[in-house]
């Protein structure tokens, strides 16, 4: 679309703030006993009279949602308010059964914090969090030609909305922030993090201004982005759109825009002039959430390792950036804990081997959808044994991987598996010596022997290969080489 030279874009800077809605992993809804998991459910089958907005119904706050918000607060490096309250945000829409959304306008539960989001060049961007508040989700409308259908399954689903400061200045940073938020919230057990089902949704506020300008430009808000890639693409698109508007002497309008993954474009939905007056007021049906420092500490004490610490641990254990980020994609906290345990308990080549196995071999398959961590037997003694066997050449590297997968699924000891599968390398000098003798006596080997004697040392590879072949891969190749040399 661009008619401008890249040098012109280079004179502008974008400023981005992100609002992220995170669906909490509770069993029931925020204010009702209805099932919170409506995936694949029939429309309006997960709706309690409270969610339906029947007369006389009153909200009953789900304490589990409060606990999850407290965990989210720790993940965001934020203080938890000792007193927080719920408010009502009013507007009429058929997906909003009570005519108001219960949210926290004035006294949110999560106060200021920050997220340190890693970038691909190994640096990171620190994005401050203004606050995060609890609220309920609305239902869903499906529009047809002349009518619309209302599904209230999602109405009343607990959310936290994380509001960032405008600390983001590139599309890549926006993506990094969104990705790190997702990791933080899933590691902390706050959400299932299923992006396909909208468990996390991002609203991205983008403004542009000349680099060094004192004031920010007018911002446009792109709503309801549900993937990291769409966050990045929408930010990039908005940057270029707004720069082009300004360069052609037009103004950026403060408005809400929608994003289409298919067209790769944002389109105007609602301008600020149409902004509604939500008539916020305190919700008198819900007493304040009062939390002591002790309660908060107790809930936060029982949390898995967060991505920042996990990342530092793996880098400290010698993993490079790419491998570390691959490891961070492991969604199962037990597996991550296992990696941390291995990193702490081992060192040198054994540690390197094990981390490579788990991150490259196993997680590689898992992320490709060819395997799952579920049911894997993570026994530190076994995996260390296997690594030591490989280190001592008792088993070849390839065979070790075969044993690894067998071991992870059966829980059997590696030596037992290797023996059963006949994968142990033969290190018996007499046994290998006999094979070496036979290989060297074979007429096909004469040329290679001559080459070696003539100083072409590489030719020994053929002889070793033949020994391995004769031994069906079980010969210790180093020993085989040693014995060949002795006989030359």
């Amino acid at each position: 679309m661009s008619i401008l030279k890249s040098e012109i874009f280079d004179t502008y800077e974008m400023t981005i703030g992100v609002e992220c809605h995170v669906q909490l992993a509770t069993k029931t809804k925020l204010f009702s006993p209805a099932d919170n998991d409506a995936r694949d459910a029939d429309p309006n089958s997960k709706v309690h009279p409270i969610d339906f907005g029947l007369p006389g119904m009153l909200p009953v706050l789900n304490r589990h949602a409060v606990d999850l918000a407290i965990r989210a607060g720790k993940a965001l490096n934020a203080e938890i308010a000792n007193i927080s309250r719920f408010d009502r945000k009013h507007y009429f829409y058929p997906d909003l059964p009570k005519g108001y959304q219960t949210t926290q306008m004035y006294q949110p539960i999560i106060l200021a914090g920050y997220v340190e989001a890693p970038l691909e060049d190994g640096s990171s961007v620190r994005v401050r969090v203004h606050h995060a508040h609890m609220e309920e989700d609305a239902g869903k409308l499906t529009h047809f030609g002349g009518y619309s259908l209302v599904d209230l399954n999602r109405a009343g689903t607990p959310l936290i909305e994380i509001v960032s400061e405008p600390d983001i200045h590139s599309a890549a940073e926006a993506r990094a922030y969104a990705t790190e938020l997702h990791r933080l919230m899933t590691y902390a057990g706050v959400t299932h993090g299923d992006l396909y089902h909208g468990n996390m949704r991002f609203d991205v506020n983008v403004s542009v201004a000349k680099k060094g300008a004192a004031e920010l430009g007018k911002r446009a808000e792109v709503k309801n982005l549900n993937s990291f890639r769409s966050v990045e693409r929408a930010a990039e698109y908005e940057f270029r759109r707004q720069v082009e508007l300004l360069e052609s002497g037009e103004r950026v309008v403060q408005e809400t825009r929608g994003w289409s993954d298919d067209s790769g474009m944002t389109t105007s939905q609602r301008s600020k002039e149409d902004a509604q007056d939500y008539r916020y007021m305190p919700d008198a049906d819900i007493p304040p959430i009062v939390l002591t420092d002790e309660e908060i500490a107790e809930i936060q004490a029982d949390m898995p390792m967060l991505p920042g610490e996990f990342r530092d641990t793996l880098r400290g254990a010698g993993l490079d950036f790419a491998m570390t980020e691959t490891a961070l994609a492991i969604t199962d906290a037990k597996v991550r804990d296992f990696l941390v345990e291995i990193a702490a308990a081992t060192n040198g080549e054994v540690r390197r081997r094990i981390l490579n196995w788990l991150v490259i071999d196993v997680q590689g398959k898992v992320s490709a959808g060819d395997d799952t961590w579920e049911g894997k037997q993570l026994l530190p003694d076994h995996i260390v044994q296997l690594a030591e066997m490989a280190e001592k050449n008792e088993i070849s590297s390839n065979s070790a991987v075969t044993v690894l997968f067998e071991m992870l699924s059966s829980g059997d000891a590696p030596r037992m598996i290797a023996e059963a599968k006949n994968l142990l390398q033969v290190s018996d000098e007499n046994a290998i010596g006999e094979i070496v003798d036979a290989v060297m006596a074979h007429e096909a080997s004469a040329a290679s022997i001559a080459d070696i004697k003539a100083g072409k040392d590489k030719a020994i590879g053929y002889l070793v290969g033949q020994v391995m072949k004769q031994s069906q891969g079980k010969a210790n190749p180093a020993l085989a080489q040693k014995l060949i040399r002795e006989r030359l």
């Binding site: 009279p49 339906f52 907005g53 029947l54 007369p55 006389g56 119904m57 009153l58 909200p59 009953v60 706050l61 009502r88 009013h90 009429f92 058929p94 059964p97 009570k98 005519g99 108001y100 209302v150 007056d277 008539r279 916020y280 007021m281 919700d283 008198a284 049906d285 819900i286 007493p287």
Partner: protein
């Protein structure tokens, strides 16, 4: 001959009557007094069925509840089975409740039998029951006068001895003022003593569920069943209500000066003074006290309550249940027309006021200011309760006014709540006690107010005066 709850229970236990006979009698009286238009629906079929069940259990010697066989009436904004729950509005004309209010469930569990649903100002907005979409209820003492409101129907069925007690909701006086107008006891508990679950919400921060009865003892009996924490209403308190016998200990009572001056009818002031004299005669100490912010209470109330009303009525949009306008083209038209057809003028007035005071730019100027003033008012109450056991005022500045007399002037109508609104804003328990009649035979009530959770002592004090006046 007027029968109390105590009388009915004794007769049933002694086998002199049955639950069915009591229910049939109540239904017959209700039909006999149909012209008062106190009831919107009878729940005859369900009531008789429940009466037969109770009689069968009595016959079998099984245990029955404390109120077994006692008929009662609920205000039609309580969700209850057996008839639609309309809140006296066209919006909910055919609304059949899928669940019952917690207090209805509790009373049924105690064996009480609901025989009908009483008229009210639509959505409990009003002080005369003239705002009902189904016609006005007439005063039990003078049919040309109003019943008071908004729980006018429940007051009149109790005053006419159709049932020994009836339920009401009280947001700013909706139990106490009609009790005063009909010469019976009307009780509003401490905010949080009784569950609000299953009652069509008016103003969440002041709505209280209470009752009408003809004796203080009956009030206590009913409240003992209704009281208690409800896991469906987060604002309820752990149960603390234990009915007590009238105290012999002399109480220190403060008469709120600001409620005895201009704007109060001479008849009412005179009856209140007489009541004070009898309190003194009974050995209580009565002083005049002052509450300087009290004259502002009505202004606070008519900001805070409409704000909450506008919010609580937002759910009536014609989408999921209730009245939906036909022949509409757009969503805005569907909302507008459904709500226009479903709400009465007073509902719309309060929604407009409430939306206005919550609007951006006005929230701080009105709503927040009113909440600050409310805090001051609460402070004045608690200051006085450091010195006094109870406070006293007339329940209403006038006796029941004529039907149609105040309908054209909403401010004049609102003034009828001037005495009852302050305890509502502060969440305090208050009771309207019958305190005689004017020359024309129209009843006058006196309001006794207690500190938070003083409900049992407050009801006992009102009962002791009943005894004293003999």
């Amino acid at each position: 001959m007027s029968q109390t709850i105590t009388d009915i229970i004794a007769s049933i236990q002694a086998g002199q009557t049955s639950a069915r006979a009591e229910v049939e009698t109540a239904l017959a009286k209700a039909r006999e007094h149909e012209s008062y238009h106190a009831l919107l629906h009878l729940t005859e079929e369900r009531a008789l069925q429940r009466a037969d069940e109770i009689d069968a259990r009595l016959k079998a010697g099984e245990k029955v509840g404390e109120l077994a066989g006692v008929p009662f009436v609920v205000k039609d904004n309580f969700l209850a089975f057996g008839a639609p729950t309309t809140a006296a509005s066209k919006l909910l004309e055919n609304f059949d409740a899928p669940v019952q209010a917690t207090v209805v469930e509790k009373l049924e569990a105690a064996g009480a039998i609901c025989i009908g649903k009483s008229n009210l100002d639509a959505f409990a907005h009003g002080g005369s029951t003239e705002n009902s979409a189904y016609g006005v209820t007439h005063n039990a003492f003078d049919t040309t006068r109003v019943a008071g409101g908004s729980s006018g129907g429940s007051a009149v069925v109790t005053a006419l001895d159709i049932v020994p007690f009836a339920l009401g909701s009280d947001t700013g006086g909706s139990i106490r003022q009609p009790a005063s107008f009909n010469g019976i006891f009307g009780y509003k508990p401490t905010y949080g003593m009784v569950s609000r679950y299953g009652v069509v919400a008016m103003a969440s921060s002041t709505d209280c569920m209470g009752c009408f009865a003809r004796t203080a003892d009956d009030v206590a009996r009913v409240m003992a069943i209704m009281a208690g924490q409800d896991d469906k209403d987060m604002t309820t308190l752990p149960n603390y209500f234990v009915p007590t016998a009238p105290s012999k200990i002399n109480a220190k009572i403060g008469v709120i000066k600001e409620t005895m001056g201009d704007g109060v009818d001479d008849d009412v002031r005179h009856a209140t003074e007489q009541y004070i004299a009898s309190l003194r005669a009974a050995g209580h100490t009565v002083d005049e006290v002052s509450m300087p912010t009290l004259p502002l209470a009505l202004a606070m109330y008519y900001i805070i309550v409409p704000a909450e009303v506008s919010s609580n009525l937002a759910r009536y949009d014609g989408i999921r249940y209730g009245r939906r306008a036909s022949g509409v083209q757009t969503l805005a038209e569907l909302y507008g027309r459904s709500r226009d057809e479903g709400f009465v003028t007073e509902n719309k007035r309060r929604i407009m006021i409430g939306s206005y005071v919550l609007s951006s730019g006005f929230f701080d100027a009105y709503y927040q200011q009113a909440q600050k003033a409310r805090t001051l008012l609460m402070g004045e109450f608690s200051g006085l309760f450091n010195e006094y056991d109870f406070l006293l005022s007339p329940t209403a500045p006038t006796v029941a006014f004529g039907i149609g007399e105040n309908t054209s002037d909403p401010v004049k109508m609102y003034l009828s709540d001037v005495m009852t609104v302050p305890p509502s804003l502060a969440g305090l328990p208050a009771i309207s006690v019958p305190a005689g009649e004017n020359a024309a035979g129209l009843p006058i009530g006196v309001q006794l107010i207690g500190p938070m959770k003083s409900d049992a002592a407050l009801i006992a004090l009102s009962g002791s005066m009943e005894v004293h006046r003999g």
